[in-house]
Symmetry: C2
Subunit: 110 residues, 2 copies
């Protein structure tokens, strides 16, 4: 395991806090990242380079990871990101589904 | 209608934004207020005086109201607050229920 890998903190499933999840998903760019990851599965960070400036993206990835919404997995020179679907469904049943559904309502209405 | 009543802005149902709702409900004191209002129905602001310092409460009430989560109704010298259950259910089906359920998971686990 590399030093970088060791440094990436992920809360355990039962440490995931509702306040942190809601705060992480209250930001539109972060919701967009999560929606795309749910559609595409695990993706390299670079997949979202068009979404926001790179420094902002690093911040958003960290917020999502620290909230327990996503998992970041170093893979050689890349970092792969995925949504912690099973952990979120176990910890807060129905929450992610409701937020995803609400995200689509909003997009279609605006 | 009094001047105070005119000044209290509430977004229309279709103006309620997901980011604002999630942000409003990401804060534990605001979630506590919403949970109690859901149990007790409409309540005067004073009902929550033990929850947080009064200046903080005013801020929380405004955040909830401006996000479209609650409705504040002047009633003589009082302000009555209620959760906009129907508006939220129509705008984002299942979202409030999922957040309420998740709030209870969290409380029981800590």
């Amino acid at each position: 395991m590399t030093a970088m890998a060791k440094e990436l903190h992920h809360p355990e499933r039962d440490e995931i806090e509702l306040s942190a999840v809601l705060e992480a998903l209250s930001e539109p760019t972060r919701r967009e990242i999560v929606l795309r990851l749910l559609e595409e599965g695990e993706a390299p960070c670079q997949a979202f380079d068009a979404t926001a400036p790179k420094s902002n993206l690093s911040y958003h990835y960290a917020r999502l990871r620290e909230a327990g919404v996503t998992r970041t997995r170093p893979n050689g020179p890349y970092r792969m990101i995925s949504v912690r679907v099973d952990d979120l469904a176990a910890r807060f049943p129905g929450l992610l589904d409701a937020i995803v559904a609400a995200s689509r309502v909003k997009a279609s209405a605006e």
